[in-house]
């Protein structure tokens, strides 16, 4: 007989933050045990995230005031469906990326420091997802950003260093803008907890500027066109698992915060929704064109992120501009889908580069070596990014387009369709090469070059492909705790 443990009686809220933090410290102190400490930290964080999700699903809105201090003075961690979705995304991605890293022979550079940095990153991200006051969110975002920059320089090449420097500067500038907005809000209202702000936001004349500053800062961190210039180099020059982390996960944190503030707290005017939509449309077009022109595989994948962030922003803008549109769940579904697919794609791309020996797209089909399994994962991930059924990307795009139809927003619909066709265009540049063999000199066999490290990206890609069939459950989870109506940590 297994002893019954009452999950609700345990306070899980701190686990997703503290477990990775302890793992990071342990890995830093004991470099030889960094992998073990890292996986243990991730595993414990996974248990905590799963338990919180279970509580959210039962309808409870778990929250913990650290040290018993209530807002506006204390720090409160709380979770609703939206939080749970992002905690789970973090768990799935970091476990997959960590496993890949553990299965790959360690690269010469930065082997020991990878795990502590990644765990620190996870602690920061989970902190941002669970925080209920905007200053705390700022701090945790900065922690995550610093860890991300540290990861980006691990390759140690001059290009990576330059890219990471730009990444750092962009992140800091974004942070300063957010801090400016926070300062204005605190000056006007004397409080920073989201629930309290939701009640008073808009009453002070400076709130408009504060909103613009915060959203601009987040847009810079999320690389929303035209503030994206730092992203392609930073993401394409990093090691493959790091690229996967940066593109699939780190980018989602500012988007998550933007969604929380945008729809839940700051009650935006219709005009600002249109601005986000226009920026999103610009991102789709610009990112796609650059992806069509890119000569290197990882650069193409990075530019596709620019385009995908545009699509998510389009969904944001649509939710804000047309409350009738139910597009915000679409935005979140797109974020989750992009997270799964992009992580799979970057890791698969890394495996392809490893086997083939270079990442020049035009010459990939000359290689007699074909890492079949990695190519398959790449293709599945591409299908989800394009948004073909039954993938999770399709589920997100469908909700976005349904919102557009319901709101009679035909231009937005046309943009989403254009983005779909463009993504077919640039991703097929790579996919076609997988099937082409007439330029190879020498014999080609099937099923070459697969290793255990192909497993995690394959799992992620299959998840992204098949999860669309269960999208209704994901949307139900998002609605748990009415994330955009009543905010986590609202203490009535």
């Amino acid at each position: 007989m297994i002893p019954q443990i009452d999950l609700a009686a345990i306070d899980w809220m701190l686990v997703p933050v503290l477990a990775p933090l302890l793992g990071a410290i342990a890995g830093f102190v004991l470099p030889r045990a960094a992998t073990a400490a890292g996986m243990a930290g991730l595993g414990l964080s996974a248990v905590g995230s799963a338990a919180i999700t279970a509580q959210v699903r039962t309808g409870a809105a778990p929250s913990t005031a650290i040290g018993g201090w209530e807002p506006p003075l204390g720090i409160v961690l709380a979770a609703d469906g939206l939080t749970a979705a992002f905690l789970l995304l973090t768990v799935v991605l970091t476990l997959a990326i960590g496993t890949t890293r553990a299965l790959t022979p360690a690269p010469a550079r930065g082997a020991a420091i990878f795990w502590p940095l990644m765990l620190l990153l996870v602690a920061g991200l989970n902190g941002a997802f669970l925080s209920t006051d905007i200053f705390n969110i700022y701090v945790t975002l900065e922690v995550a950003a610093l860890a991300a920059v540290g990861l980006a320089v691990l390759t140690g090449s001059a290009a990576a260093l330059r890219a990471a420097l730009n990444y750092l500067l962009a992140g800091m500038l974004g942070g300063v803008l957010i801090l400016l907005g926070i300062g204005l809000l605190f000056h006007a209202h004397g409080r920073l907890d989201l629930a309290g702000l939701a009640a008073v936001a808009g009453s002070a004349p400076s709130d408009g500027i504060a909103l613009i500053a915060i959203i601009a800062g987040l847009a810079l961190k999320a690389a929303l066109f035209p503030l994206h210039a730092w992203l392609p180099a930073a993401h394409s020059n990093a090691q493959a698992p790091v690229s996967a982390l940066l593109s699939a996960l780190v980018l989602k944190a500012p988007l998550y915060v933007a969604l929380r503030l945008w729809v839940g707290v700051l009650d935006p005017a219709t005009a600002s929704g249109t601005v986000l939509g226009v920026m999103g449309a610009g991102a789709i077009l610009w990112g796609s064109v650059q992806a069509l022109r890119a000569e290197r595989l990882k650069l193409l994948v990075a530019y596709s992120t620019v385009a995908q962030v545009g699509l998510i922003s389009l969904a944001f803008g649509l939710s804000a501009a047309n409350p009738a549109a139910i597009a915000w769940t679409g935005a979140v579904t797109l974020m989750l889908a992009h997270g799964l697919a992009k992580a799979a794609m970057f890791m698969a791309a890394g495996r392809i580069v490893e086997e083939v020996g270079h990442d020049r797209i035009a010459e990939l089909d000359r290689s007699p070596r074909r890492p079949t399994l990695a190519q398959f994962s790449f293709a599945l991930a591409a299908i989800s990014l394009i948004g073909l059924p039954p993938t999770l990307g399709f589920a997100g795009k469908w909700q976005l387009m349904e919102g557009a139809v319901r709101a009679d927003a035909w231009i937005w619909l046309a943009m989403a369709m254009a983005g779909t066709l463009l993504s077919v265009g640039y991703l097929s540049r790579v996919l076609v090469g997988f099937l082409r063999f007439d330029r190879v000199r020498g014999a080609v066999g099937e099923h070459q070059g697969w290793t255990l490290a192909d497993g995690p990206p394959l799992l992620l890609a299959v998840t992204a492909f098949g999860a669309g069939l269960f999208a209704t459950h994901i949307i139900a989870l998002l609605a748990a705790g009415a994330p955009l109506g009543q905010l986590p940590g609202a203490m009535q």
Partner: protein, 501 residues
């Protein structure tokens, strides 16, 4: 939970699994395990035929299996086995078995066979899904899956020409898929459902939303019309003939184009309902478009010297018989249309397999090289000739039956112009097929003196048998058209559902 498990429709799910489920296994079995792979593939195909026979028996008794779960809020993934679904499944299951046998022989020792047979299985699984889709949303899912799974088969040879054809194929089919997606989305917002229901779901909306419904109809028909190769959306089909013969045979003559024609049926009959569609004034233009396609395809076929291209244009023309029969809004013509879904499939697959045999054994790819091939490959050419005569509409072959019903249906509806189209098309059919038969049987083989024939090539039973088998079916479907469980009888059963008051 147990209630859920016992409530599952195992038979349809098994039928789906026989092709979708084995695909990953086939991908993994490389050429060192070619025998195991072939055995698995053939037994799955044979089991599937048996299961479909069993299912059709059950459905004829009035059983209907269904599976439904919510995928997105308000949108269900739904599978259902109505008689129309069984019709299409029977076609794809039977021909999958025969074509797989053929493909094993055809691709002997070729490269990338695991990939080929894996995607081939997924394609057939997708057609089963298309057949069983219980609503337009589920139809869309499998329709796109079919696009994705056929692409690697079109470019199978990996040559520059194949890739060019593949690119065009993707551009056409994905654009069509996007049209279908937007139409489906709009329909679901407007009507609150996309379910396939005999006599349609939009009757109540015609008063207020007639214009919108017409636009949605155009979007949906454009979406499925790409695969059905309706002019002007047909250009991908002749170019895709670069694919290996089994692909051209099963997919381009049967599965893909039929998925499009099948989609037109579902949209006209079970989304709009034939009466509503007529009231909206959309059936007339559709019939006209089908008639144009019939004549255009036949005229273009006349000018093709490449055998497969001639057959491809003939497919463009012949598939639109189905669209025409649906759009005529006459129950009798509908019987012809549905029967032609099967009959055209049998005839065209025969001809493509025969063409594949000629290309593989004699390296004959052009009509002008076909002099005397009847003496070199009598079995293959016998099958080809039967199918060609069926296409022209010679009684008592299968093609005659469908044309007969189409013609009597149009007479009943006072659509006399259709008779002219059918006659013109039959004449054109004769004009592009009879010269082939004449060359094959009555002219001496080129490049040889009359007295000495080159030796007959030895083709294995795996390539010789399937076309003869399908040719025999062409004969049987025509001669025994009134027997129970013949395609014609089954279509009468279906049409009685769509048209009864």
């Amino acid at each position: 939970m147990t209630e859920f498990l016992t409530g599952l429709p195992y038979l349809p799910l098994l039928i789906l699994a026989t092709s979708l489920g084995i695909a990953p296994v086939i991908f993994v079995l490389d050429d060192a395990h070619a025998r195991a792979r072939t055995a698995l593939n053939l037994s799955a195909a044979a089991i599937k035929v048996a299961l479909v026979i069993w299912l059709s028996w059950q459905v004829a008794q009035g059983t209907e299996y269904s599976l439904q779960f919510e995928m997105l809020p308000g949108l269900d993934f739904a599978l259902r086995t109505d008689p129309l679904a069984v019709l299409f499944m029977a076609l794809s299951a039977t021909l999958w078995l025969l074509t797989t046998i053929y493909a094993v022989g055809y691709l002997e020792k070729g490269p990338h066979r695991s990939r080929f047979f894996g995607f081939f299985s997924i394609c057939v699984g997708a057609t089963v899904g298309i057949a069983m889709a219980g609503n337009l949303f589920t139809f869309l899912l499998f329709y796109e899956l079919l696009t994705l799974a056929t692409y690697p088969l079109v470019v199978h040879r990996g040559s520059a020409a194949a890739l060019k054809a593949g690119r065009l194929y993707l551009i056409y089919t994905l654009s069509g898929g996007l049209m279908l997606l937007v139409g489906t989305l709009w329909l679901s917002v407007l009507a609150g459902s996309t379910e396939f229901v005999p006599r349609g779901i939009v009757v109540d909306l015609t008063d207020d939303h007639a214009g919108t419904l017409q636009i949605i109809f155009v979007l949906l028909i454009a979406g499925v019309g790409v695969k059905a190769a309706l002019v002007p959306l047909h250009a991908w089909l002749p170019i895709s003939m670069v694919a290996p013969a089994p692909v051209s045979a099963l997919l381009h003559a049967v599965a893909v184009v039929k998925a499009g024609a099948f989609g037109i049926m579902r949209v006209v009959y079970e989304i709009y309902g034939i009466d509503t569609a007529q009231a909206l004034g959309v059936t007339g233009p559709l019939a006209a478009l089908a008639a144009v396609t019939i004549i255009y395809g036949s005229i273009r076929a006349l000018g093709q010297d490449d055998i497969k291209r001639r057959l491809a244009f003939s497919t463009v023309s012949q598939v639109s018989y189905i669209t025409l029969g649906v759009a005529l809004a006459s129950p009798v013509a509908a019987i012809g249309a549905l029967a032609h879904l099967i009959h055209q499939g049998l005839m065209k697959i025969t001809m493509f397999m025969a063409a594949g045999n000629l290309a593989e054994e004699l390296h004959i790819k052009k009509v002008s090289q076909m002099n005397g091939v009847g003496r070199l490959m009598p079995g293959t050419m016998l099958a080809f000739s039967l199918a060609a005569l069926g296409m022209i509409g010679v009684p008592p072959l299968a093609g005659f039956i469908s044309k007969w019903y189409l013609a009597s249906g149009s007479l009943a509806e006072n659509a006399d112009w259709v008779i002219a189209v059918l006659l013109g098309s039959s004449l054109l059919n004769a004009a592009y097929f009879l010269p082939i038969l004449h060359r094959a049987w009555f002219l001496p083989p080129s490049g040889t003196t009359d007295s000495r024939l080159p030796t007959r090539p030895k083709i294995g039973w795996m390539m010789a048998g399937p076309p003869l088998g399908t040719a025999a079916l062409v004969l049987v479907a025509g001669v025994l058209a009134n027997a129970p469980f013949s395609p014609l009888e089954w279509t009468r059963f279906i049409v009685s559902r769509e048209y009864t008051e």
